[in-house]
Symmetry: C2
Subunit: 589 residues, 2 copies
């Protein structure tokens, strides 16, 4: 007998071939004395027919099989009769007439149906992940993940980058997110940390003279999880020496162009749009704007600068801002009740309320209209380029609250109103980031990206005098409202790195204790360098059209960072803890 | 000015080009009013000449630079004068006449010279790893590591394997080596474990229907370290469904053939030699024999079965064995003192001594000769095919002691006597492994590989009756005396897996508690599957001709599992421990 063939690949050209199939029983149907089995393997599904005239014993065995049994079948490929052709199946023009079938392994009744979309609880699906993963959309997602990864690798290999592995057992650094810790057995009382990113190691690789590095790198953050966060995630991590930020962005664009072409068949037009951070905030209230639709912020503080309406007045006088969204043509589709719901929505983002107006007969109507002068009303209409039937929604508060709440509202309305062309892939660079953020709680500046980011050309002098207004030589890549990742040029001189730590409130001793090895390395011939890191899981999610990061990770964790399949994390033995010289602070069940 | 070019790539075809170089000052020499700088970048080294007639200011700056300064140079490529051509340099026919030089970053005097081979202490080299890595042999090793990795990937991609990522935060399993643990913050009192291998996950991937998986996977073992062990290491991890062990070995051979061709230019002849475990032990006393030289074990228990010499008699009567190595032509080169040293060597492996004879005039001489009959002497000479001038070294003890000690001695002598052709790459499969080993201490059987290994065809019935003699459907790949890795077919039926756990002394509850998810998965349509895992670090070490695994890992740990560069592991704050609900069992400094 010939070798096994993949059933999903059989076509009319295979007709009359005697073949051997192995796979899973997707479905069994009895019809007119015959048995039909849809046999699934990694290539797809093919229909196998058992006919008593061909083999009585095969028919009997086929009668005993159930869904998800693993079987092997010998048979012959034949053309289907005209009226049984199934054009929606790739193998729909042929079927296999079985002469033999053997049950390789039985299967219990699966806890849920294996179908394209499933409404089973996610916990159950994760507990039986190996069954869930048999669904076609997940199979396709992981094939795409493979394809994206290989395309990225091929591009970087072709451009002289070396793939290199950095350690997973590293040192804990208190800046940034929370580390996962690993107690050391040999060095009692000491701990390794799992890396939040290979940042310092990739900089050291540049100082080692390799010039072009990449890694598909596993990273770890012990953060409270959201739908789009996982304790471990994977990033495309790149670092290079002697390149400008323009060159790094160009390289990244070329890489993404290749990915889009290979994976989606889409020709991405280059160069990608670039937008300074300040502009993105002003136009969309977001540092990762979804530019697939308009409804940009309309700034109306100037129109309302003399307003006697307390909400507007208060916002403007306290140094805040008033913006509006023009929800075009929707005035009649939003009742007071609907708007109340929107009000509840913006309150989550810190807004105190949601002022609104409807445009009618070139005038505005609504509960706040009475507080506005005619001039203000006409000013608003004119500034918003509003027409009859438009709905105007206001944010008036501290600028950050207005941006947050109205930015979120814009996205919500974009989706609700079907303004978003889901077939679009809008890539966008956000540039000219602030280098530092003032942390009220800590009473000091913190690094907006990380403490190794290079200030923008010409801004170095401002580090001492005006840190709030120092820009970073940094860039983020955004796709359809998601941050894919970002990068920067890095500081490569010790004096500047020292100064940066000073601005961040480190004493010399603290800087030395935590980052002494980096500071040292800067003094032994560090080249100018920079790079980028892109979230692979998120890229897969967006390109595969999945709505959840967990669908892009083979064995993901739940929102409480556990794995219902293996039951990790779990208790361990006292002997294990003793060896590590640690103990629990109390008894746990 | 044109873009930067890589200096190491300049050739005679570049003569007269005006170029921009960036890189490190490898060396500076002053000669006859000129300054010569060897400028290094990732492509290699090129000579740059500063001439006061071309630019006085450039000469002055060049005068100030020191080793490892990072500089950029503008200049013109010219042909070297005939008498200054350096044919040992790839750029040795040309040099660059500099018109400008700029210091990009200064460098302190490096703590050690950057030269091909270094006798500096490893601790110092690891502390300044970023300087050590600039050495050409290490640069070449990591380029080769990249090349090996990509060749493996390309081969597997071309053969339908999907690269997939399994979790690093997993569940602790008490079988096998010691786990690294990670305390969970969300689930107080519980721990993740870092995976010793993706074994269970890759089996689950098969149960998920993917059929062909691979991963260049990071693995972790908290073991006491030896020269060829690291706390984290990387393996080429492969699993497939529906394939026989012959097919998996063939696939692996083809992959290694491709690697040898691409990386070493060597045509590996296939199929590779296969040797059953028992034969390897009998002939070489090793399950990973170095077959690049002979000096195989000569079994002489039968010749000596009636010996009155107590050492031989005792070994044979207690069920042990007597073997000898024929060290051909070396009788006169080993004094008693030399042999005493060899005796000390074998004692480390448990031998009580080292009996020896020298062959002279077709007879044997030596301290034990008087205990042997003429018939025995002639029997030994004949069995050993010994000639005058040969040295015979005996092992007589429990079989395992003889194999261990004489096997180690064989390797030592092979190296000492230059019997090993270092240009050879002898691949070898070891097959027909025992499935189980009896652990005297535990008083039960343990898995020789792991508890998921399939017994050999036809040996399943012996599991209950004669476990010691059950063979495994397993195979190890050996290269030049090193185990590159191994694999097996796996158990895919629950009943057999249950039986296996029983033989290993698990209660039902223990099996369920630790491996319940796997046992469950076997019942929901598990396909026959198997795979292999090969140590990438070791492959790189052998192909790059390095003697130490640490040379193949970018940022390795020392023998005490610490990193002198970053100082990992390190103490962490009490706040961090509090969050994890753990405390140290005592105060540490």
């Amino acid at each position: 007998m010939s070798k096994r063939v993949l059933g999903g690949t059989l076509r009319e050209s295979d007709i009359d071939k005697e073949i051997l199939l192995k796979g899973w029983v997707q479905k069994r149907r009895d019809l007119g004395g015959l048995i039909f089995i849809d046999l699934r393997d990694k290539s797809g599904v093919v229909q196998v027919v058992f006919n008593p005239d061909v083999s009585k014993s095969a028919l009997e065995t086929a009668d005993s099989v159930r869904s998800e049994f693993v079987v092997q079948v010998k048979g012959k490929v034949v053309k289907r009769e005209e009226n049984t052709i199934n054009p929606s199946m790739e193998t729909g023009h042929i079927e296999v007439i079985a002469s033999e079938i053997e049950v390789i392994n039985k299967a219990k009744n699966p806890p849920f149906l294996i179908q394209d979309e499933s409404d089973v609880s996610e916990d159950l699906r994760l507990k039986y992940r190996y069954i869930d993963l048999r669904r076609t959309p997940l199979q396709e997602t992981f094939k795409m993940r493979h394809q994206i990864t290989q395309t990225v690798r091929n591009y970087l290999n072709d451009n002289g980058y070396l793939e290199m592995e950095t350690p997973i057992l590293t040192k804990s650094t208190p800046e940034g997110a929370r580390d996962y810790l690993v107690p050391s057995r040999v060095h009692s009382g000491e701990f390794y940390a799992l890396p939040q990113s290979p940042q310092l190691f990739k900089q050291l690789i540049m100082m080692s003279g390799f010039e072009k590095y990449y890694q598909i790198a596993r990273c770890f953050r012990d953060e409270d999880l959201r739908a789009d966060r996982q304790p471990e995630f994977t990033q495309i991590d790149i670092e290079t020496s002697f390149m400008s930020s323009d060159e790094i962005m160009e390289m990244t664009e070329n890489m993404m162009q290749k990915v889009m072409k290979e994976v989606k068949g889409i020709d991405l037009e280059l160069p990608l749009q670039r937008m300074p951070y300040d502009e993105a905030m002003r136009r969309y209230g977001s540092d990762k704007p979804d530019t697939r639709f308009g409804m940009e912020f309309i700034h109306v503080s100037d129109v309302l600068k003399d307003s006697t309406f307390k909400v507007f007045q208060g916002a403007i006088e306290s140094g805040g801002t008033v913006c509006l969204l023009n929800v075009e043509g929707q005035a009649n589709n939003y009742s007071r009740k609907d708007i109340d719901k929107l009000t509840d929505f913006v309150k989550v983002y810190g807004a105190k309320g949601l002022a609104w107006l409807k445009v009618e007969e070139n005038d505005v109507k609504g509960p706040i209209a009475k507080f506005l002068t005619d001039e203000e009303k006409q000013g608003l209409i004119s500034k918003a380029e509003a027409k009859d039937g438009d709905l105007l929604l206001f944010g008036a508060d501290d600028t950050s609250v207005v941006y947050d709440s109205l930015g979120a509202l814009r996205l919500k309305l974009g989706k609700e109103l079907g303004l978003i062309d889901e077939s679009k892939f809008n890539f966008l660079w956000i540039t000219d980031w602030p280098l530092l953020e003032y942390d009220e709680e800590l009473g000091r500046y913190t690094a907006a990206h990380h403490p190794f980011t290079m200030p923008a050309d010409g801004d170095v002098d401002k580090l001492a005098t005006d840190p709030a207004n120092v820009k970073a030589n940094a860039y983020d890549l955004v796709l359809n409202g998601y941050e894919l990742g970002g990068g920067s040029l890095r500081i490569y001189k010790r004096e500047l790195q020292n100064q940066m730590f000073e601005v961040l409130g480190f004493t010399n001793e603290e800087a030395e204790e935590q980052f002494g090895f980096l500071l040292d390395a800067l003094e032994y011939g560090a080249p100018p360098h920079g790079g980028i890191a892109l979230g692979l899981d998120r890229i897969v999610m967006l390109l595969a059209g999945r709505s959840n990061l967990r669908d892009t990770i083979l064995f993901p964790k739940t929102a409480s960072a556990s794995d219902p399949l293996t039951d990790a994390p779990d208790t361990v033995s006292d002997a294990q803890l003793d060896e590590l010289a640690i103990q629990l602070t109390k008894e746990y069940e």
